[in-house]
């Protein structure tokens, strides 16, 4: 098999890796295929360059600015679908959110944060889970905050409009019927759900970035791309932003150790953690 982008010289790869590490806080995987990534191809098209080598040459000539950030955004990993890892959403709907709503300390409002939400499917999946879980809890409200590094992804997320392919990926039939409507060959999140979901640009790796206060933080398949020190800093900030009895949900192969200030609550397919006292 031909190695994909790494036909590019190691100088260019090292340059891009340094960029993603410094600006985005994540490690560019050597095995990743950039030439088959539609977001990278879209970036080359927008910048009117034919190859990644040309792009890197342009980046080197310019003072660090908008183009560099745009490249980092495009290189950020983005593989998202509705109810990806659906068992955790079942758990949220049937166990976690009802338990949180039952805590006397709460004031009839839950905040769920999808950190690294990409094009929004995870944030809307959280909203659907909360909507169903709180349907019979009179007086309760919820809000979902989706955050991502990429402005382009956030524009899709904010639109709440998805293609047939997006809808096909993971969205259970009953949720499609209840929370989407079809218009102009696309599927639109219904207004009653959408009003509870907001999006904001946030670079988790930026030490000055304010994290939203949340009862549930879902940050899946994001932290594993961060270097250990950066990951520890991000987890520390997440813990400070979380309610003390809240939940942190990580991806399938992600773990945190007690030194990060969290204790494991479950070792299912999605890792569930609580803030340690």
């Amino acid at each position: 098999m031909t190695p994909p982008v790494w036909e590019t010289g190691t100088g260019q790869i090292d340059y891009l890796g340094d960029l993603t590490r410094r600006i985005g806080g994540f490690v560019l995987e050597k095995e990743r295929s950039l030439v088959s990534d539609p977001r990278v191809m879209d970036l080359l098209f927008r910048e009117k360059v034919g190859t990644i080598e040309e792009l890197v040459a342009r980046l080197r000539k310019l003072p660090e600015g908008a183009l560099h950030l745009s490249v980092v955004e495009s290189l950020a990993v983005s593989d998202t679908s509705f109810f990806g890892g659906c068992r955790i959403f079942d758990q949220l709907e049937k166990t976690i959110i009802p338990w949180l709503a039952d805590q006397p300390s709460r004031t009839h409002r839950l905040t769920l944060w999808s950190a690294g939400c990409s094009t929004g499917q995870e944030a809307y999946s959280l909203a659907i889970s909360a909507d169903r879980a709180l349907a019979n809890c009179f007086g309760w409200a919820y809000q979902v905050i989706g955050s991502d590094l990429s402005s382009r992804s956030l524009r899709t997320a904010e639109s709440g409009v998805y293609s047939q392919f997006d809808i096909n990926c993971g969205l259970p039939a009953s949720r499609l019927v209840d929370y989407f409507e079809k218009r102009d060959n696309n599927w639109h999140v219904i207004k009653t759900l959408k009003k509870n979901v907001s999006f904001q640009k946030l670079n988790l790796a930026d030490p000055g970035a304010p994290y939203p206060e949340a009862d549930v933080v879902m940050v899946r398949n994001v932290l594993s791309y961060f270097e250990p020190n950066r990951r520890a800093d991000v987890l520390g900030k997440i813990k400070r932003a979380m309610r003390p009895d809240g939940y942190l949900i990580l991806g399938e192969n992600e773990t945190v150790d007690p030194s990060h200030g969290f204790r494991a609550d479950s070792n299912g397919p999605c890792r569930l953690y609580r803030p340690a006292p």
Partner: protein, 121 residues
Amino acid sequence: MRALVIDDEEDVRRLLALMMGRLGFETSEAVNGQDGLNQLNDPLGVDVVLLDWRMPVLDGAGFLKKKQADAAVASIPVMMLTGLNEMNDVVTALELGAKEYLMKPITQRTLREKLALLGFA
């Protein structure tokens, strides 16, 4: 595991059989709803049905009505296939007993994810 693919288009049946094979399913094929009903009582059993919606002789809705009325096969899960991506068809299929939907064009990923929703992880 065994799957029954009901679709009047041979190319679609073959493609689905190939994809299902990659996911560990042995697949039999039916050309319309009536043919599918006849094969449902296959002594080897059927674990899941992939059902096209618009077909001659007996369409997807007709198949579901007759299947759900037969207690011996009513519990076999059905995934509706539609190329028309009409919400009304999805709603009707669910009301008639389908458990999931899959919109064409079908990819290996979407098929795998939908089967996972039916418990075929």
